[in-house]
């Protein structure tokens, strides 16, 4: 019977396939960006060498010595060793990603739930200053790290309390925390940098050459990957994770289905705060000083990473893997531009354009598959 109102259960492939496709988009963008910078670096270095050889040949001719034939520009470009596609570039970029990447794990959860956290940059500064402050007072590294983490978690809890108890929308609540945390960081550090003995935090976590060498990348990068795995499992395999998606997708439904929305938000923002705390500790490891003015505007990098990775600011969508790729894209854009010698002002414009482009392309792609 061809009943026209008969519901059909099938219109698109199963969710898992779609999730995979969604994640592949940002990955493809990342690969393209890396290859693009590699090509740019190759051309630039080749041309530099060509110019150098030409000038040397001209110089020797003038001084009467016989000069060998100068290879063509194209030959120079082809035969030059690529300085961008090296293990060191990847290690350095990985290290640069760690802070934003770890904070992006917390942000992913918050964005999925339909919220936003503008306080990330300030909380990173606050927790890195806190860690430095503890170390300066003679605390061993372990407790200093724990102090940083807990302070981050506390900030998240405060955000959640404002959102659930005072009923302030996340944008405003975390904007408040953005100011409070930055101010507190400056207060603790007395408006200067805190010089502190970093111990192994400075020498082992975000190093260029990991020790032992079989680690391949620094322990900081491993921490980020491990955290990503934990958050991914939390979102996929626990009821908390599912409730986070449900709240972002349709909060009224979640409430009607008996989900304790306020409690989930409390847990969610606290966990995200712990992530931000960890990002702050990593920031300290990189700088080895507690700088209360660090990570200015980092919240926007973090949000951009999540959104590039497929997160939707209206909630219900987002992926840990995508956010990680998004963070890498942001880092590679910076490192690549520096490497090729693009001035900072152009860099900023490029990054801005990439964010808009990524989201626009994602929207078009989704529309065509739906």
């Amino acid at each position: 019977m061809s009943d026209p109102a008969r519901p059909t259960g099938v219109s698109v492939g199963p969710t898992r396939v779609r999730q995979l496709l969604n994640a592949l988009g940002p990955l493809l963008a990342l690969v393209l960006i890396i290859l693009g910078f590699a090509a740019a670096s190759q051309i630039r270095n080749g041309l530099d060498e060509h110019r150098f050889l030409t000038e040397r040949a001209a110089h020797s001719e003038r001084s009467g010595r016989a000069a060998g034939p100068v290879p063509s520009a194209w030959q120079c470009i082809r035969e030059h060793d690529n300085r961008f596609l090296t293990v060191n570039t990847f290690r350095a970029t990985g290290n640069q990603t760690v802070s934003v990447g770890i904070a992006a794990m917390g942000m992913t959860m918050i964005v999925i739930s339909g919220g936003i956290d503008l306080s990330v940059g300030s909380v990173i500064a606050l927790t890195s200053v806190m860690t430095a402050w503890c170390l300066q007072r003679g605390s061993p590294p372990g407790p200093a790290v724990v102090a940083g983490l807990l302070l981050g978690g506390l900030c998240g809890l405060a955000n959640a309390t404002m959102i659930t108890r005072l009923k302030v929308v996340p944008f405003i609540a975390t904007l408040g925390m953005w100011g409070i945390a930055r101010g507190l960081a400056k207060g603790i550090a007395a408006e200067q940098k805190i010089d502190a003995p970093a111990h192994w935090l400075g020498t082992h976590i975000l190093v260029r050459q990991p020790n032992p060498p079989w680690l391949l990348v620094s322990p900081g990068v491993w921490t980020m990957l491990l955290l990503a795995a934990v958050v991914w499992a939390m979102l996929r395999y626990t009821s908390l994770g599912r409730h986070v998606f449900a709240i972002g997708s349709n909060e009224a439904t979640a409430r009607l289905c008996g989900i304790r929305v306020e409690r989930v938000k409390l847990q969610l923002y606290s966990i995200a705060g712990l992530c931000t705390g960890l990002a702050g500790v990593m920031q300290f490891c990189r700088l080895t000083v507690g700088d209360p003015t660090t990570a200015m505007g980092a919240e926007l990098d973090v949000i951009a990473a999540v959104v590039i990775g497929g997160g939707s600011l209206s909630g219900g969508e987002g992926s840990v893997f995508g956010s990680l790729i998004g963070a890498l894209i942001m880092a590679f854009l910076r490192v690549g531009c520096d490497h090729v010698g693009v001035p900072t002002w152009v860099q900023e414009m490029v990054i801005g354009a990439v964010i808009v482009l990524a989201v626009a392309v994602d929207y078009i792609r989704r529309k065509s598959t739906a």
């Binding site: 259960g9 698109v12 395999y237 009821s239 009607l256 969508e317």
Partner: protein, 507 residues
């Protein structure tokens, strides 16, 4: 499950609830026996949904007591109600569109290991069993709910109630977007559940359905119980009287009006994705009804006409000022407004009104230059204009400065209508203008529509409520899956014909 055999499954006594100025429930009693299908009947806005939200713990009553199987029952949250064995199937779809079917069905009642890790296997089994019981093993549990058709989504809601071991299942208009086949399956399922001793509260205003499936009934009108009894011992006419509280002529006041020349013509209109190939003519002084199930494309049609939804192909011709029909492309709402077309949104709260703004602002918003000059508003003239419409439409308010928040649904709807009148629209596209307003306000809206038609305005009236279409319209068109199935004079339609045309079930 029951404490003693003679206790009713559910007893609600003297339940009262107010929302601001509106009394939604005024001392309602409800009695449901174990294994009974109890119909809760009433017009939109009679208080059925509010009563069920109280039962399910979504809102708390101001007064009244409730007993489940003889034990006092006072749910503090939906979760609490669910634990006490009450499952709700809400009328407005309550799915999380980003989650899969399985995730939606198990939402809030996930099985976990150590209270943390989800047990996916057993949950999958329960979901599959529920879908099989609904005769829909074709719905795959890992499809996103947002990708399903409206009818399938409604079945997911039913599945949600099935996976819990509920003692009471409340179904709020469960068939409103189901096909006849699925409706039959649902009725069969209801009988099976009743056989197992499950009590079902069945909310509907389709009397035929109630007569097919229900044992006892309670009728609500304006927040009060106006009748209760056994369906088999009560005639349909008696039940309608209890619902409406007045005779049918009083319900649908006729105002004489004469149909004139064509003012709006649709030619093979296709939207994105709905409607499909719709051709229709609307005349001056005519009330043209538009019926169809949810998802039939009625709202989409109105929005396409008004320039709010994209038009894929076809032609819309508006001829109010010019004597001859002229073609135009690329309509926008502002263009339509200047052509004398006005639209009333079905979603009063989200789209139709700016709730935080004053009545005066809301009424004059679409034609502010009538109450000002050079972009400046003359506030006293704005208030005067608003006051005029408040009087004409009998809007119960403290004055034009009151915000739209504070009004009852019926008065809010009149404010939305007043805007169209202030705008002096000649073609009125009304999308569910009587949804969620009380009977008295409905009668006023019907009379107003008749008066407007008598002034020579053309009205396209979308409704899901068959009696009002039959009572008010000159002609009625029925849509199904985006297509216009049939247009006839109102006297040539019966409720059965219209349902059959809308569902494709054959006459």
């Amino acid at each position: 499950m029951s404490a003693s055999s003679d206790d009713p499954r559910l007893r609600m006594i003297g339940v009262r609830k107010r929302f601001g100025a509106t009394v939604a429930l005024d001392g309602v009693d409800l009695l449901v026996q174990p294994g009974e299908v109890h119909a809760l009947i009433g017009e939109n806005g009679a208080g059925k949904s509010t009563l069920m939200k109280i039962l399910s713990g979504a809102i708390a009553p101001d007064e009244g007591r409730m007993y489940l199987d003889g034990q006092a029952y006072r749910p503090v949250s939906p979760l609490d109600a669910r634990r006490r064995g009450i499952a709700m199937i809400y009328q407005e779809l309550n799915l999380a569109p980003h989650l899969t079917v399985e995730e939606n069905v198990m939402l809030g009642i996930e099985e976990t290991r150590w209270g943390l890790v989800l047990r996916r296997g057993p949950m999958r089994q329960r979901v599959l069993a529920a879908l099989a019981e609904l005769h829909h093993p074709d719905i795959r549990p890992d499809v996103r709910a947002g990708d399903l058709s409206i009818g399938a989504r409604q079945l997911i809601e039913v599945a949600r109630a099935l996976v819990t071991d509920a003692g009471i299942i409340v179904m709020d208009e469960p068939t409103s977007s189901l096909s006849q086949e699925d409706t039959a399956h649902l009725f069969e399922l209801i009988r099976r559940l009743r056989g197992r001793g499950v009590s079902i509260v069945y909310i509907s205003h389709f009397l035929e359905e109630v007569q097919q499936v229900a044992d006892g009934f309670t009728v609500l009108r304006d927040g009060r119980v106006t009748g209760t009894g056994m369906v088999s011992q009560t005639g349909a006419g008696r039940i309608i009287e209890m619902m409406v509280g007045r005779g049918l002529d009083e319900m649908f006041p006729r105002v004489d009006h004469h149909v004139g020349g064509v003012v709006l013509e649709l030619d093979d209109l296709c939207g994105e994705p709905l409607p499909r190939h719709v051709g229709l003519r609307l005349c001056r002084g005519e009330i043209l009804g538009l019926f169809g199930l949810v998802g039939a494309g009625r709202t989409e049609l109105l929005r396409a006409i008004f320039g709010l939804a994209p038009v894929q192909s076809g032609r819309i011709t508006v001829a109010v000022a010019a004597p001859t029909l002229t073609t135009d492309d690329g309509a926008t709402p502002s263009r339509r407004l200047s052509q004398g077309v006005g639209m009333l949104s079905e979603d009063r709260k989200a789209e139709g009104l700016a709730l935080p703004m004053s009545l005066a602002d809301n009424i004059t918003l679409s034609r502010l230059n009538a109450v000002g000059r050079w972009g400046f508003l003359n506030l006293s003239r704005q208030r005067q204009a608003a006051r005029r419409w408040i009087d004409r439409l009998d809007i119960r308010t403290r004055g034009p400065q009151q915000t739209a928040w504070d009004l009852s649904g019926g008065n809010q709807q009149k404010v939305a209508l007043a805007r169209l009148l202030h705008q002096d629209a000649d073609i009125l596209l009304l999308d569910e203008p009587t949804r969620g307003i009380d009977v008295g306000a409905k009668v006023q809206v019907y009379r107003l529509m008749g008066e407007l038609a008598a002034e020579g305005r053309a009205i396209l009236f979308v409704s899901s409520y068959l009696p009002e279409l039959l009572g008010v319209c000159d002609r009625i068109a029925v849509m199904r899956r985006g297509r216009l199935i049939d247009v006839r004079g109102a006297s040539e339609w019966s409720e059965q014909d219209m349902m059959a045309a809308a569902t494709g079930g054959g006459a």
